[in-house]
Symmetry: C2
Subunit: 168 residues, 2 copies
Amino acid sequence: MADLKTNLNNYSLDEEELRQGIELLFYAYRDFTSEPDKILAKWGFGRAHHRVIYFVGRNPNITVTELLLILQITKQSLARVLTILVKENFINQRADPSDRRRKLMTLTEKGQQLEKELTSTQMARFNRAYNETDTEAIEGFRRVLRGIINPHDRARVRPRTGLSHRRN
Amino acid sequence: MADLKTNLNNYSLDEEELRQGIELLFYAYRDFTSEPDKILAKWGFGRAHHRVIYFVGRNPNITVTELLLILQITKQSLARVLTILVKENFINQRADPSDRRRKLMTLTEKGQQLEKELTSTQMARFNRAYNETDTEAIEGFRRVLRGIINPHDRARVRPRTGLSHRRN
DNA sequence: TTTATTAAGTCAACATGGCTGACCTTAAAA
DNA sequence: TTTTAAGGTCAGCCATGTTGACTTAATAAA
């Protein structure tokens, strides 16, 4: 934190601003995960299952290795939830024809339904937040969040299309 | 999700935009917590300890009940980490003179040092992200994140002061 | 003043989801 | 043919969330 100003309170104005960002992110993430967690509990699942379902749904034919790169957890941690999701028919695996070591994963119909139920609560939350602001705020939100992500992984989220949100 | 448009791909443009927001939040939080986690591991602590240290540091003389409202965990979950932090002299507790049932918590010198070490990595991350954008983007970031937080808790993060960030 | 109520602490028990390290199979690449 | 890569699996550990019941001490209410 080399370039932070300090004052007599051992408390810089910039530090205050940065801490507010930290807290906003903490509270937002806390609430963002709270609704899906309740739905997952009905199925005996946890947040880890949601993440797997989400990213398989979002990236059809994803491999285990790619999923590990996204989630940044160990193979064993992933295997625990993935095995259950395959056994209970939420996720389908089939060998990649061009490299039969790889297994391409997709959501089953059942998996898609659960994914939609879970993610719709989060999309509704974003939709409300977006509607309370404007296009410029949303763009700023995206740019700052992108800057918080480690540079190497910023490209994982598709950049905005040219089409603007319906407000404005 | 009443007002989402749909197209032939069962895929609306708005849905794409909302999902990008979800993913940005996921990746940002993932990376935001990764650096403190490494430091905490050296002390035998976890993310839960960081959260307690952070919010006690940020809210001197906070009570257990208030901390529970912030963290949204059970008393037992908090007690486990809090007991350790008090025993190992990171946090001080003293009875509130005006209501001796309440215990007011503050960071010790040792606690302040660890807090600074942990949080400085996150502040540095925000500082970098903020410096890559501009005042308007930061303000948009804050407004959208605030909108994602459950309305009741939005006031927990102090609103911006009139003083602007040093860029622009 | 007796009776709630509140703040905090505690115990036992359980589940989720991280982790490590070792090891195996199969398939592709060198 | 040997090495590497993708994936799976086992045993065990730890952190951190959960519930429910119960206790103590102090304040507030009847």
